[in-house]
């Protein structure tokens, strides 16, 4: 039996919840399904720490926020999307305030802002250093108000259902019973988040396996700009737990093994003394963009200036000079995490850090209204690419993005649902039955099999780190293509020990692995085709940016064997491509 | 679908130290009530006659009375200490952004305990 809704939202993170509330508020008659493979408040938005950007203070301007974002993304951002984003941002964050988000405050009671990497002016709203946590819980709790939002917690979506050229729902497994259901709807929104887990060392939680991207890819929808993968410069060695950029926003510094602030050697400006009241200077040194900082680390390592430890090389992030009081007030989570996970109290000792995979700039290709090329299918959040992040996202833009575009996707999907009422239930049920058959045949009732999920996963990790890391080259990428081919092959002899239905997490891990392989494929092929260096995509064989040929978005389409890459122009409205300037006057 | 629910035994409070201490804390109330009864007896006698009062005082020297007092004292002291330690949880004060530390509030409570005890001794026993 199929479940029937007006709209189904896949993903209960920040983007999915914001979409649900948007529809709940404006269209109380529409019945919405919120499908999520974990309880919404477990979504990885919960881990975001630093803050969310929006112009609110008098010294700031929309133009500056646009320009910072576009320059930060090395002109790969669609400028119409950025303008819309920047204009809507303050409204969305105030809306969050009205819903109860405990933003940190100034003495006069207005919200406080802090500086962030690549931003000319401090415009990052924050709730101590648990901003994502507070946003997600505020959204989730607020969503409980709307009784037209029906939650399907711990339901794992497996496939986008297309009928008559329109997206008319998804199939999903109710994990507690193991039963697969067709969830039919007039429009569908994908809000499934990122795919950091295709890499071994990442700030992303276990659930970030790129499911939505893979589902869209398999449904024939292109994935855009997949080669742009953000490394965050400050992850904890070993676990990859993030130390937020806010640590640097508050004045933390990065030093190599000689105690030298090495960033000054990488065209990021000159350091001010840490006691200088002007430190830290926006858009300079430690407050440069993440791609440049992560690349600087690799260069420093080549010079053997990094510190060696059991979990690889590191540099030091030093925040001791902020003092205990400020650290406890503004960066309590940083202190909690470093104390718990590496036994270091940042009040007294510098924190060892190294670059770590953090964010996917690319994702499901959407228009500025969050539409995909498949009518009835919308996408928003980290799984989508509208694109405001270009070749390198600025920290604190993404939390705002999930709100702005989450709400927009909700509204657009509501309009679509109101205009398209017919659903072909019978055909959907049949598709659902086929999908169930596939899963039973390939996994649940499959005999034999020799490949452990963990082994294949490890191998993807290896190949991704080696060939699509901070620096890439043609030879490495070509090897990676072969490897992916091999892994796809071996996936068909996957070993599933658990044949039971209830909460079969081995099955879901296998499905996630399948998704990861698809996402990895699109990343590798996109990276191979982009023969230039831009933002987070640095080719050792093509050192320069090439606007002539590559000021274009890449679109990866699935084919039988490998990705087919096409290109699409970047939307440029007001800000012609220029040089990225950090640490000096523009 | 079926789920499994671990049954809770009636001796759950013997299975972990914190639970055991909790139940002991709750049982102190028995001794509170017991001492209330004793106080009533004491007042009745003290309000009655010299003889009645003298007999009572004499009986207080008996081992029974001493055992009663000793046990009651132990439990009531436990009651008092747990009670005072939990007080800061209920009384929360802020001075601007800073919360007044629990230790300070508990300290104030203990201080007043001392003062009250002194006043009572002075009132009953005289200078």
């Amino acid at each position: 039996m199929a479940l029937q809704y007006d709209i189904v939202i896949v993903g209960g993170g920040g983007a999915g919840l914001r979409a649900a509330i948007a529809i709940g508020e404006t269209n109380p008659k529409l019945k919405i399904a919120l499908v999520s493979k974990v309880f919404p408040m477990r979504s990885h938005t919960v881990a975001a720490e630093g803050g969310a950007a929006a112009v609110i203070k008098d010294n700031d301007s929309f133009n500056d926020h646009c320009l910072d974002t576009i320059g930060g993304g090395e002109w790969m951002c669609d400028q119409d999307a950025v303008e819309l984003f920047v204009n809507e941002a303050p409204k969305e964050l105030i809306q969050m305030e009205h819903w109860g988000c405990p933003w940190s405050r100034e003495l006069d009671g207005t919200v406080a802002v802090r500086p962030f990497g690549g931003m000319k002016i401090e415009r990052t709203w924050f709730a101590a250093d648990k901003t994502g946590f507070h946003l997600l819980h505020t959204l989730f709790q607020t969503s409980l108000k709307y009784n037209n939002v029906i939650r399907h917690d711990e339901w794992f979506a497996t496939k986008i259902l297309v009928e008559n050229g329109r997206c008319q729902g998804v199939t999903a497994i109710e994990m507690r019973s193991g039963i697969m259901k067709v969830i039919a709807a007039k429009s569908v929104i994908m809000c499934t988040g990122g795919a950091g887990r295709v890499f071994p060392f990442t700030t992303n939680g276990a659930i970030k396996t790129g499911d939505g991207m893979a589902m869209a890819y398999r449904a024939g929808i292109p994935l855009k700009d997949m080669e742009f993968i953000q490394y965050h410069p400050t992850g904890l060695p070993g676990t990859g737990i993030l130390i937020t950029e806010a640590a640097r926003g508050e004045g933390g510094i990065l030093v190599n093994k000689e105690g030298y602030r090495y960033l000054q050697d990488y065209d990021l400006g000159m350091p001010l003394d840490i006691e200088d009241p002007k430190h830290p200077v926006n858009k300079s040194m430690e407050l440069g963009p993440r791609d440049r900082l992560s690349q600087a680390f690799i260069k420093e390592r080549e010079k053997e200036k990094t510190i060696t430890g059991p979990f690889g090389d590191v540099v030091h992030l030093d925040i001791r000079h902020l003092g205990k009081k400020k650290i406890d007030k503004k960066l309590p989570f940083v202190r909690e995490l470093t104390k718990n996970y590496i036994g270091i109290d940042p009040v007294y000792e510098p924190i060892p850090v190294r670059p770590v995979v953090h964010y996917m700039m690319g994702g499901i290709d959407t228009t500025i209204d969050c539409r995909t090329i498949l009518p009835g299918l919308f996408a928003a959040g980290e799984c989508a690419c509208v694109s405001i992040n270009g070749a390198n996202r600025l920290g604190s833009n993404s939390l705002t993005e999930i709100l702005v575009y989450g709400a927009r996707a909700g509204n657009a999907a509501a309009v679509f649902a109101n205009e398209h009422s017919e659903i072909n239930l019978e055909a959907l049920e049949k598709q659902g039955a086929d999908e169930y058959k596939r899963i039973t045949r390939d996994f649940l009732q499959k005999d034999g099999g020799s490949e452990r999920i963990a082994t294949l996963r490890k191998e993807i990790h290896q190949v991704m780190e080696q060939s699509v890391g901070i620096f890439r080259s043609e030879s490495g990428l070509k090897e990676a293509c072969n490897k992916i081919e091999e892994l796809k092959d071996r996936f068909s002899s996957i070993l599933i020990e658990d044949k039971s239905l209830n909460f079969n997490t081995e099955l879901t891990s296998a499905l996630e692995l399948e998704n990861m392989i698809d996402v990895a494929e699109s990343i590798i092929f996109s990276a191979l085709s982009r023969r230039e260096s831009r933002g987070s995509h640095q080719r050792t064989d093509f050192l320069n940016r090439d606007d002539e040929n590559f000021l274009r978005h890449s679109l990866a389409y699935r084919t039988e064997t490998e990705s087919r890459i096409e290109y699409q122009d970047v939307a440029i409205t007001k800000w012609p491509p220029g040089e990225r300037v950090y640490g000096k006057e523009e | 679908m079926t789920t499994y629910r671990k049954p809770v035994s009636n001796t759950w409070w013997l299975e972990s130290k914190p639970y055991f201490l909790f139940v002991i804390r709750e049982f102190t109330s028995l001794f509170v009530a017991g001492y209330c009864l004793f106080l009533l007896l004491f007042i009745a006698k003290a309000g009655d006659s010299q003889e009645a009062y003298a007999t009572l005082i004499l009986s207080l020297k008996s081992p029974t009375s001493m055992v009663f007092h000793l046990i009651s004292f132990t439990f009531i002291l436990y009651h008092a200490i747990t009670w005072f330690n939990l007080t800061p949880k209920i009384m929360v004060f802020h001075l601007g952004e800073e919360r007044i530390p629990n230790a300070l509030i508990a300290g104030a409570v203990y201080l007043s305990w001392g003062v009250v005890s002194l006043i009572i001794s002075w009132l009953i026993l005289g200078s």
Partner: protein, 263 residues
């Protein structure tokens, strides 16, 4: 290389042989009785209990089911009983169990659905009941164009602690009262109601009282206090409940002493 003592990552990882880890297993469709299974796992200094469980799932027994995601103590999904104490397994280090006896069971007090996975529905319903969202009186909502509600850092400090709950359910697992009577609204849900009650922007306390001030609400709590002891985020739900008792008692007196004082 070992320059500093305190620093785990620098001291190097000690992998000292293996240990037996006991895990609670339960298949709802196969057998009605759960059982304990033990696994041989490397004992690594830098590992948390969750790492060892992941090791089992990845390398030994793919059929083990449990929840986890962030592995940084913030998503709230990995709560389990570790040697009978409710813990976030992603923040419980193996080295803190030097006796090398570790038994992992699902959080107690909840129905078990499979292996280490328990049923959260009850909490989700309760959370909905206590209306954990900002409520304003009719006509007193500020339009978005007029900006944020002002709130001083001091006002923020009044409720901040209660916003930190990650819904990990450790407090429920620690509360014997909840184990005895699952009608009890319970620590986290009450703390979250209190979070909004104490927020200077909120005007919805009356609406929450219905559930909070009922028998199954605050009055069923006998201040065992273990909820606060196990809470990984120092939310102190026990205090939240006792404070709610004080204010509900004040309400009662106000109502009885000053008739018709409420508007």
């Amino acid at each position: 290389m070992a320059t500093r003592r305190t620093c785990l990552w620098k001291r190097g990882v000690k992998v000292s042989e293996t240990f037996e880890m006991e895990i609670f297993r339960y298949y709802p469709d196969k057998d009605n009785e759960p059982f304990i299974k033990s696994y041989e796992v490397p004992f690594r200094d830098d590992w948390v209990v969750l790492d060892a469980i992941n090791y089992i799932k990845d390398e030994i027994d793919g059929t083990l089911s449990y929840r986890w995601s962030c592995r940084m103590g913030v998503c709230g999904s990995c709560g389990m009983m570790v040697n009978s104490v409710p813990k976030l397994t992603c923040s419980a280090f193996l080295k803190d169990y030097p006796s090398r006896k570790i038994r992992v069971e699902p959080l107690q007090g909840f129905p078990v659905e499979r292996d280490l996975i328990f049923d959260m529905d009850d909490f989700m319903n309760k959370l909905t009941e206590v209306k954990p969202y900002l409520l304003r009186k009719e006509g007193e909502e500020k339009p978005l164009e007029e900006g944020e509600y002002l709130q001083s850092p001091a006002e923020l400090a009044h409720y901040k602690q209660y916003t930190l709950c990650i819904n990990c359910m450790l407090c429920y697992a620690a509360c014997p009262i909840y184990a005895l009577d699952s009608n009890f609204v319970g620590p986290a849900a009450i703390a979250l109601a209190q979070r909004y009650n104490l927020d200077s922007r909120d005007q919805g306390r009356n609406q929450r009282q219905e559930v909070i001030a009922s028998h199954e609400g605050i009055w069923e709590c006998t201040f065992v206090g273990e909820c606060s002891v196990v809470c990984p985020k120092d939310v102190d739900p026990a205090a939240a409940i006792q404070r709610a008792k004080v204010s509900s008692t004040l309400d009662w007196f106000k109502e009885k002493m000053i008739p018709r004082s409420k508007g």
